[in-house]
Symmetry: D2
Subunit: 197 residues, 4 copies
């Protein structure tokens, strides 16, 4: 796996600059995609799992009405708790357990940054009518497994990958940066098939 520490130097919004940086985080480009394609907004109930370093959790906390954040690994959960505290947000609830143990709240957005996101479909979860489940997957095989499971449970999917380059505008001229991130992960968005327009 390769979302390395250096990636952290990528441009961050103010809300994330206050946080302590863990080993792996979703980057702004992917957080932005998640918000825009899911339609996450200030009325949204968001489930985020696994929280990891808490970057996505806190970012969603700045946008959504409420965030329920799952992180089953004790040391990561403590890390996330500290980052939530640093954010100053009071709309984030951290649960030190697996999201696949289930939850009863009705979510509008369920964000899964986990090795086997398709497990959600055999878990107890509640999703609003227009709700969206998102799987963040570094590998194509994960996309395939998630899409197959989603389709089998009455969900339709689309998957995007964002290649984002910084463009340098300097005295010498204008050009894309010469080196940088070339891949983070694929984002698959699943929603109920009955919603087909």
């Amino acid at each position: 796996m390769a979302r390395a520490r250096e990636q952290m130097d990528f441009r961050l919004p103010p809300v994330l600059k206050k946080l302590k940086r863990g080993p792996q985080v979703l980057l702004p480009k992917d957080l932005g995609m998640i918000v825009a394609y899911s339609g996450m907004n200030k009325e949204s109930i968001v489930v985020d799992a696994g929280a990891g370093s808490g970057f996505a959790t806190v970012f969603f906390g700045s946008i959504a009405k409420k965030v329920i954040s799952f992180e089953m690994r004790k040391e990561f959960a403590e890390f996330v708790a500290k980052n939530i505290k640093r954010s100053g947000f009071d709309n984030i609830e951290l649960r030190e357990q697996s999201v696949f143990e289930g939850f009863k709240e009705t979510a509008d957005v369920i964000n899964l940054d986990l090795p086997n996101p398709e497990q959600i479909f055999s878990s107890e979860f509640s999703l609003s009518d227009e709700g969206v489940i998102i799987a963040y997957s570094p590998h194509t095989e994960q996309v395939t497994s998630f899409v197959k499971a989603a389709n089998g449970h009455g969900f339709e999917c689309f998957t995007v990958e964002a290649i984002v380059r910084e463009i340098l505008s300097r005295e010498a001229g204008t050009r894309p940066q010469t080196k940088g991130l070339t891949h983070t992960g694929y984002l698959t968005f699943a929603r109920r098939k009955t919603l087909k327009e």
Copy 2:
């Protein structure tokens, strides 16, 4: 100019599906970048100009505390007014004038989708300390002009371009879509130099 009508078919979040589609709109990938890199959130005061079809205005309305939307062209302003009504949001204020005539509210995010965004620096505007001005520019020359003006007025900039491909996961196999959008615009984010970390 090339943000054609077909681009509208790209995946849209629920909030934008209710709207009537005009000739040119910012797409989810770019709206997501704007939110993520600017740190726009539910406390934000956002200025959006020119509103065009109102897609960005309404999207920001779903995220921010308040949106002040500028559209000086009468026929477009009417189009935007209808889309704001369709959205049902009451936190959007539409002004049928140029943003360059100035405004007195202190904005956290100023989004400029206009041919000459650098005019903002010779206009009357108010920006919060960590506030961000965004210029959406289809052409590289526009990026250069904006960055130069921003630098000359005590702002530092970074510019990104997002190449987003849909990934198809089907019986036949997994691959990126074979045809689609290859460019929309460059997004330049400007903030005051004194904020340098």
Copy 3:
């Protein structure tokens, strides 16, 4: 499958403009990658299969010493034969059979644009010491199958994908084209592991 007819309008070198266009062809960007990463040159013996429309075959014929082209489908083989004639090249030999039936010549480059390129490893073939086998695969699963088979037969691999955008430089300004090809195929290059530097 999606290498559509419109893709043919993409910029072509003079040697390919003389040819009659079939339903699917390797595009200049991929032909260029094949030449550059394989090191194909005027001393090379090249095997090309399946020939399809004969575009790759003729292009390689303009570069290599000799091309042996395999196309087992009768109607395609006739199409290729005509395109070879149009090219005027006398260094191309067309065989109306499957490359997997085997060949005795020692190839420097074996280019496989076929659904199951990994079959080569269970076929009779001869490759020079620094020789390269290339698999062109639209889908990621094909890449995986080929790499696995190659590794199992003492070959090491690397795979590249080229995203090529045309950049427009006009009165209105400079920008990438707004729509176009977003994917053709992955190119996997396999060579004997003993050649490791």
Copy 4:
């Protein structure tokens, strides 16, 4: 300028592995584009300037009938001379002067990896009817200047940029490399307008 030494580690064809590596070289992806879009072949007379480290010169030497290579900087010319010797090719002629001093041979391909490639149009040069002039430009402003000059001298142009990612196919799964080159340069191909199809 940013074509750094590390870029040299990118996959190289056998012909280039023998060479001593200088500070800046055209990479296989760009060399491949040049060959494919120009139609360079074993009958071609190629002019390459400035030779730099001699990588492009030697690569073209492996493909073309004859290469005339210009490098006016003495220390670079000596470097190139050694690399030509290492290649073992006898079809490359090195001239320690600027290409803009002119040449009398009729070239099929003129490759310009120089800061001001548009100077060619005010220089003495000879180009075959279907001949192509290529400008390799890291910056967009260079593209603009070259295209403008070319158009003014009866040439039409198209420009491409290739974003090439390596795809990793491993036990853990299949995905693009996470970090790497994100830009080298733009390739502009100019040919006489009278050749319009």
